[in-house]
């Protein structure tokens, strides 16, 4: 069965051709390759008569080497409720319990800081936790987390100067005045991350966008939903900059809308 054995019907070529091709290859695979030859073999191929190569529809560019790995930060969703431990290993001290969902209904995420194997060879991941006391880190089994997301951004909130600055690959790309916690309910300092983003809710107090962070008010521990620190807009822009909130970080609405376009969930947040 060769292609040249007879005219192919174009209408069935797609299907039959495949079968013929397969059969042709099959025949060649097992046989000695000579039984099918007929007549005197032709002389060598005439290279000059062959068509020129078809110009490809696309040509990939130069290899893209990875640059600036250091400015990447990692996050991962919590796949199922898990107890974070003080060290890699099931018998290490429990530090906190992690839920798979946030109070806002989004997937709970953690900032990924590192990894290590325990004595039994199981992979554990060191994560920053959204619990009190602020700054708590712990270890969870790798399989309790989902995939890794990465961001190149970092937000720095300066409680002294009352500013928020977003860096991308180490360069400042956004800056704004902020309102922060009153002396009685201070905004906590330390290393945190953006946990989720809320939009299109009906509550003018928070402005058009509210980011949830892993930071928690150390004073308002019985606040509904845990007293998490948000980064959000405001209906009182005249108070900014200032020490005016219960711990949240308030921005003017046009600023928070600008930040929304620049800052993905998972971005590390430094409050100092």
């Amino acid at each position: 069965m060769r292609m040249s054995a007879g005219p192919l019907r174009r209408t069935v070529a797609a299907v039959v051709g495949g079968v013929l091709a397969a059969a042709g290859l099959l025949a060649g695979c097992g046989g000695d390759g000579s039984s099918d030859s007929r007549g005197a073999p032709r002389p060598a191929a005439e290279v000059e008569t062959l068509p020129e190569p078809v110009t490809p529809a696309f040509v990939p560019g130069a290899p893209e080497l990875l640059a600036d790995v250091e400015s990447l930060a990692w996050w991962s969703p919590v796949e199922r409720p898990v107890v974070a431990r003080a060290a890699p290993g099931a018998d290490a001290r429990a530090v906190a319990r992690l839920e798979a969902r946030t109070p806002e209904g989004t997937r709970n995420i953690v900032a990924v800081l590192g990894r290590r194997r325990d004595g039994k060879g199981a992979l554990w991941v060191r994560v920053r936790l959204p619990v009190l006391p602020n700054g708590t880190v712990g270890w969870v089994p790798r399989e309790t987390l989902g995939g890794y997301g990465s961001v190149r951004t970092r937000l720095v909130v300066d409680l002294e100067r009352l500013t928020a600055t977003l860096y991308r690959d180490g360069r400042a790309v956004f800056g704004a005045d902020v309102g922060v916690g009153q002396p009685a309910n201070p905004t906590p300092t330390g290393e945190f991350y953006v946990r989720n983003k809320l939009r299109r809710y009906a509550n003018a107090f928070y402005g058009p966008v509210a980011f949830g962070t892993s930071a928690r008010s150390p004073t308002l521990t019985d606040w509904p939903a845990g007293g998490f620190v948000g980064i959000h807009g405001t209906n009182r822009p005249e108070l900014l900059p200032g020490r005016v909130s219960h711990g949240c970080i308030r921005l003017r609405n046009d600023d928070i809308l600008r930040l929304e376009r620049l800052m993905p969930v998972g971005t590390p947040v430094t409050i100092r």
Binding site: P63, L123, N203, A210
Partner: protein, 232 residues
Amino acid sequence: MPTEHPTPIIAELDRDGAIEEALAAAGGTTRRGFLAAALAGAGALAGFPETADAARGPKRDTAILNYALVFEYLQAGFYTEAESIGTIRAMGAERETWARTLGAHERAHVTILKDVLGRKAVARPFFDYRGVTEDGDAFTRTAVAMEDLTVALLAGQAPRVSDRSLRAAFFSLLTVEARHAAWARRITGFRPVAAAFDEPKTLAAVDRVVRSTRFLVSRPSRESRRSPRFTG
């Protein structure tokens, strides 16, 4: 996602077993014979169920390109993650050169396929490499499996692409992926070329392997319309 690649269902497979399956295929222990390969190739032309209604032509070309793009995303993400978190750096100079080169190629493939597809390009999916990018050995063995699978995918799809300039481009990608596969195999101690013929795989067959790895997952929800209850 393209219609040819519905949102993957997270199969109830044993995690290690699933990865072992993909790796065994790479190692040659469960590699099917050429007979089966040729029949599979014929099956591809006879009609992969999800594309039987899509005739040879620009629409199918777009779908095939998009599937190739998903695959390049999968590979690029794999190498990028392993390099970014330091796994590749810890593997020694020879493997580091190899893995960094492959990552650089796969990222270039993503870029060009997105360019070519323009607005039709599928968005980058979310991947969970399930610890494989965090372990030098698991990473290398999975890379072998992935590169071999890419070869089988492109070899299977090249005849199905109807535009000839696209087909020419597919051939240039196919041979590079085959170089990757051979290089990966030699580094891991496998023979770089397992057989005289690479077994083309249908989209359905490739899809089964990809699903068995469970690397492709749905993007975690990080946004909500609920009213904030932050401290304010």
